[in-house]
Symmetry: C2
Subunit: 224 residues, 2 copies
DNA sequence: CGGCCGCTTGAACCCAATCAAAATTCGTGG
DNA sequence: CCACGAATTTTGATTGGGTTCAAGCGGCCG
């Protein structure tokens, strides 16, 4: 699933269907920093993230980088374009995945349930990307960062006694390249949220959200 | 198909397959300015544009608008998210479409060829949206406008004796909302391209591209 | 001919990028 | 365990590209 704030409602992780589980043809395990596939590689399998987190990136000829999405448990990645991978996929942390034959997507024969589940995942992806368009096309920097945190919270948030907490497995640069900003700007937005008391940072990777409502408000410029 | 410059190669209109043709369950015709469906509507049918052009838009609560895509002949639109339309669809010009049952996408039973074609269209859409991410996340205003023209040229360009020509059925505001810019900025970029001799404008809708190579260069910041 | 709407042009401003440097974290080896 | 160096994050000062605000232009249709 793509990390982008929904205008409608939160899109939660699709449960890892037992149905799908049974059709997995294999498992994969990649360590932090390792690459699962590169843009242009032949797509042999699709993957569902089981644990950990991955990063999908694309590069422009001149080196500019766009983080297309982050993949968290439940997300299905590796949809082909013309049979080829569309982005590089790297592990942000040690990650376990299971894999499916590409043919399970393209012709469901024999495994209609799996076929359907993969198709639904593709449709969800289209939706998530549209949400991200709203981010990149319409929102200003503080809205983007707030939106990002809201979505991360929905995806991976844990409830504590002082608020909800979320671990960010990606670097500030990754976040910046995902949001179409620079590291400095992302950092400044974090600082502003911290100073306003909406969040606090245990360390740069661990965010405690003290005021979820205020964060959600910032995500949509209902400022002050 | 989404109007976005490909980093790899141009993605041309998928030919309107005879196969698909035979499975069409209906036709639709909408006049300029009319709406085919709204965000949130139940998806009953998917559509393939036959002639004309449509615009897919989404709104933020506060009224900010993002043009998600333009649909030209060959493009398939209307992919559901959770059974609902994800964007508003309006006709930029009088448009003819043919329609397919949503079930043809979701379960191909009886019509595997159509099912497959719709799935491929969904995968193409994912790819096209990724290209658009590069646009919104990485490119500056003049690159965006140049990229946009390059893609429009690929999609709808006609060859003349003085260069290739393309008709833009959408307004400057539509282009701006598609590219994540303002009307003024888009207009200024057009003017800059005109002054540099790369394009000329018969009227604001009709662009004659005099130097395709230079336009392509601007699309990637290999400036001057 | 006149009014309206979309496009273009101009000037001032502002948000985020850039450039630069300090602070903090992290890994490595003594 | 601490010391050191590298990398990441944060902070600060300045610049610049795109927005905003405002006004002119031009085509189209009554």
């Amino acid at each position: 699933m793509y990390v982008t704030t929904s205008t409608n409602h939160a899109r939660f992780t699709p449960p890892i269907s037992e149905e799908i589980e049974s059709h997995a043809i294999g498992a994969a395990r990649i360590h932090e920093g390792e690459c699962l596939y590169y843009e242009g590689d032949e797509v042999e399998r699709l993957y569902q993230v089981l644990t950990g987190a991955v990063r999908l990136t694309r590069l422009l000829e001149d080196g500019r980088r766009q983080v297309i999405a982050f993949g968290f448990p439940g997300d299905i990645i590796g949809f082909p374009n013309d049979g080829l991978h569309q982005a590089d996929c790297d592990a942000l942390t040690d990650t376990k995945l299971k894999s499916f034959r590409r043919s399970a997507l393209e012709n469901g024969e024999g495994e209609p349930a799996l076929h359907f589940a993969l198709l639904q995942a593709a449709l969800r992806e289209i939706h998530a990307m549209q949400e991200h368009f709203m981010m990149l096309g319409l929102k200003c920097s503080d809205e983007r960062v707030a939106s990002f945190l809201v979505t991360m919270l929905e995806r991976c948030g844990e409830t504590t006694n002082v608020g909800r907490r979320v671990f960010l497995p990606m670097s500030r640069l990754d976040i910046a390249d995902f949001l179409g900003l620079t590291v400095e700007t992302v950092s400044r937005c974090f600082t502003a949220l911290r100073r306003s008391g909406i969040i606090s940072l245990k360390n740069s990777q661990t965010v405690l959200v003290r005021d979820e409502a205020a964060l959600a408000a910032k995500a949509l410029k209902e400022h002050d």
